[in-house]
Assembly symmetry: C2
Homo-oligomer: 153 residues x 2
């Protein structure tokens, strides 16, 4: 059997994670484009998926998304140009800056959170509520194990 045929039958963890991420990102980008957010790209999720309504520091966004702080800085610059976020002084630390969502940013964040919840409800309805809950439980355990492995070296 060819390598690709074998992987089609038994895809590895990286292939499955990649396929699901890509398809979820595409549905979010396409659905939100039809709702007025046509300039948002999948890469912007590294900021918008992790941003708090009250604002977040760039270092926090880097930690949460697993992206380098430099990548986050570039994405924030783009999102400022697109009108989704502002940089403001952090009231807790005058030397630091907070990334704060605008009304447009908050609208995107709320809509994408709702869409993700809908996507998961649809999947759970097909694979079964208990099977989906078990899947999410193990997935979260694996994500935590992988993060620990990454921090350990």
């Amino acid at each position: 059997m060819s390598r690709s045929a074998r992987k089609e039958i038994e895809p590895d963890l990286g292939i499955l994670a990649g396929r699901v991420l890509l398809s979820v990102q595409r549905e979010v980008v396409e659905t939100l484009a039809a709702q007025g957010h046509e300039r948002i790209r999948p890469k912007h999720g590294a900021v918008l998926a992790y941003l708090d309504a009250e604002g977040s520091r760039a270092t926090e966004l880097a930690q949460r998304s697993g992206q380098h702080k430099q990548v986050i800085g570039t994405l924030v610059d783009e999102l400022i140009d697109l009108g989704y976020v502002r940089r403001e002084p952090d009231p807790d630390d005058r030397r630091a800056k907070l990334i704060v969502p605008t009304e447009l940013g908050l609208d995107q964040m709320n809509r994408s959170d709702e869409l993700l919840a809908l996507i998961e409800r649809r999947l759970a309805a097909v694979v079964g509520e208990q099977a989906y809950a078990d899947f999410k439980h193990t997935f979260q355990e694996i994500a935590t194990l992988r993060q620990q492995a990454g921090q350990g070296g």
Copy 2:
């Protein structure tokens, strides 16, 4: 509770898929860099993870990876420059080209397949063999459902 605190406790499917993909890609890139493949980047996985030893067409690689054919073409050009693949005439269709791995490409493909299998054995040992098998089963079902949803519109 803040949005980010809520997502930390109950990450959605997109966040989990993104975290696991990023950590697997990083381990593959770092481990293989130490084994002589220091110029391979995560993005090259869209070609190298799906390539057959006998060669594959760009359209097949686009289908398998979910990337656009234009993206695949750019990655193939880079991998040709890096010495990992060649473009050859397809013996089954004179107008078509096959992307064929070089010896260096085959070495990368074998090493990354082995590393993925090792990563999965390590995870299964921690979360439990049965729990891991159940997780993979549901993940594959979800990836298939998502692909069908994507094709449907």
